[in-house]
């Protein structure tokens, strides 16, 4: 007969893995998760088939390959689209569980840090899978319409890494906001407000207090316009911006999670 007294207490990593698998199960096996996945796949198909690929013809005519033009169009869409999608899909990290008291069952068995960071990692993995699905559709439709190009898979992998990096701070923002509110809709609303206000504030700071302008590295999406100017692997030269923002937001979220009443 095994009891909690005789079992070896699980490590933090083991606990986080259990927490992550439950979230992945929610995203990809629950009814609601499958509805979201189906809707996302359908709209991705529409965007790629009727937006990304057709508009690549005019870009390709200005120079470069058709595949390059398709991926540039994809980047233009995904660099803004996935962060916005994050505000909705990653909004329910801890808020609803705290609201209904489910976190009270969980927090007696693992630390708040484990809960907070495993929910964040889960959402990163879920978003990466969504990005991967869109890229699989992109490669499949491109191959179907344009024929096979050996560069398509490496380009898709690079896009997964680049767009994946872009969404890190947005998932971290939702992790932070989710600690503060109870409902996903509230989290999305406050994250949107926070994102807009911080951009306006930094605009004002740059205008009137230029000495503080370097702080704009903390504004989510500040690197997006520069990212769209860069091509392929060179986009990773701006990855540090996303990681700094993500680190700051996670530290703030962890601090609040440790002090929040459950």
């Amino acid at each position: 007969m095994q009891t909690s007294h005789t079992l070896t207490p699980p490590s933090s990593l083991a606990n986080m893995w259990v927490l992550i698998t439950l979230e992945l199960s929610r995203a990809f096996t629950s009814r609601q998760g499958l509805i979201y996945l189906g809707a996302f796949s359908f709209f991705s198909y529409l965007f790629i088939n009727y937006g990304v690929i057709p508009f690549a013809f005019s870009r390709a005519e200005q120079g470069g390959t058709m595949l390059g033009a398709i991926f540039q169009n994809y980047y233009s869409m995904a660099t803004y689209g996935f962060p916005i999608l994050c505000l909705f899909l990653a909004a329910n990290q801890t808020g609803p569980d705290r609201e209904r008291g489910t976190l009270r069952f969980i927090s007696l068995r693992c630390s708040r840090d484990e809960i907070f960071f495993s929910r964040f990692i889960s959402q990163i993995l879920i978003q990466l899978i969504y990005i991967a699905i869109s890229l699989v559709l992109l490669v499949a439709l491109t191959t179907y319409q344009q024929g096979y190009d050996a560069n398509s898979l490496p380009s898709a992998l690079l896009a997964l890494i680049n767009i994946g990096t872009v969404i890190f701070p947005f998932v971290a923002l939702m992790a932070l906001v989710s600690v503060l509110v109870k409902q996903p809709r509230q989290a999305t609303f406050y994250a949107g407000i926070l994102w807009s206000l911080s951009s306006i504030l930094m605009g004002l700071i740059e205008e009137y207090v230029p000495v503080l302008a370097p702080l704009n590295i903390l504004i989510l999406g500040m690197q997006f316009s520069d990212l769209n100017e860069l091509v392929g692997a060179s986009k990773m030269s701006l990855a540090h911006v996303a990681f700094i923002q993500c680190g700051v937001l996670l530290l703030a979220g962890r601090f609040l999670m440790g002090r929040k009443s459950l």
Binding site: Q2, T3, S4, H5, L7, T8, P9, P10, A14, N15, V18, L19, L22, S25, R26, S30, Q32, D97, R100, G101, T102, R104, F105, I106, S107, L108, R109, C110, S111, R112, S261, L262
Partner: protein, 304 residues
């Protein structure tokens, strides 16, 4: 060996209200412990601090020698929090498996352990149900089941039988009594009779302060010169009963606060076999009794 629960000068205030005020007590492992008090007395606040749902404003708390939230307590301390609900997206068995895995069970062991605790709560027919498919009482029993996973050393139960039908409430009381040897339960409830049946130690909170900590089954807190018998009779002429019993040797007083229920105070030192005399008196007068308790009821001890 450290106490199971040790609180010292515990204070909690929020929103300008003092929810707990200098609460100090110690409880050892063993028989269930009752936490009683009126609404707003601070019972749930105390539970929440013990479970580390929030922190105290000042004072110290130790469970099994560790502060609440300490990693060493994971799996050792469990709770039925008031109003906590399961995730509506997953079946009960899946959620219990998940919680068991967080306590260190592997997948197979977790499933066996989940089935064991669900069986204790007579929920084996509902293992694959979603929480929304269960009645309020079944959800509550499932929540108690999660608290029993892994046979923790301390289980905190906040109103475990509130909202349950009498049959299921009885089953939960039986399970608590059965498990009391291996697990210590701290039970918050308004049902004094239930607590009297289950618990040895009673913590009485009022206005955020610990009014008393008593042993419900001993009479050591009672005045040594006076003993008590509580008796509940079938229909009886109250005045006649009081008159006749008052005239018995060594009886100091007979009080009645509830219909047909009397608390008889007598000199236990001079008449240690007073209960025998009383039974004879009942028989002589053809009075039939329903319940006879040596000492006062917990309700009398707490509120008289």
């Amino acid at each position: 060996m450290s106490a199971l629960i040790e609180c010292e000068n515990l204070c909690k205030h929020y929103d300008g209200k003092q929810a707990l005020n200098n609460v100090s007590f110690q409880c050892q492992a063993g028989e269930p412990i009752a936490l009683v008090g009126p609404n707003g007395a601070g019972k749930t606040t105390l539970f929440s601090i013990l479970c580390h749902y929030f922190s105290q404003s000042s004072g110290t708390v130790k469970l099994l020698g560790h502060s609440p939230g300490d990693r060493q307590l994971h799996g050792q301390v469990s709770a039925l929090p008031q109003d906590a609900q399961f995730d509506p997206a997953f079946s009960i068995i899946k959620q219990l498996n998940f919680l068991a895995q967080l306590q260190g069970f592997n997948k197979k062991q977790a499933n066996l352990e989940s089935l064991r605790v669900l069986e204790l709560m007579e929920l084996t027919q509902s293992v694959n149900s979603l929480p929304s498919e269960l009645s309020h009482g079944m959800r509550k029993r499932a929540a108690i089941a999660q608290a029993l996973i892994g046979r923790p050393k301390l289980v905190l139960l906040d109103e475990p039988t509130a909202g349950l039908d009498p049959g299921n409430a009885k089953n939960i009381r039986q399970q608590i009594a059965k498990l009391a040897g291996e697990t210590t339960f701290l039970i918050s409830s308004h049902n004094i009779q239930e607590l009297e049946r289950l618990c040895d130690t009673v913590l009485h909170l009022e206005h955020g302060q610990l009014k008393q900590q008593i042993n419900s089954r001993s009479s050591i807190h009672e005045d040594v010169s006076q003993s008590f018998i509580t008796i509940e009779l079938e229909s009886v002429d109250q005045a006649l009963f009081i008159d006749r019993v008052s005239k018995m040797f060594s009886v100091a007083n007979v009080l009645s606060e509830n219909k047909n229920e009397f608390v008889i105070g007598y000199d236990g030192q001079s008449t240690p076999d007073f209960d025998q005399h009383l039974l004879k008196n009942l028989a002589d007068n053809n009075w039939k009794y329903r319940r006879l308790i040596k000492g006062k009821t917990l309700e009398e001890k707490l509120f008289s």
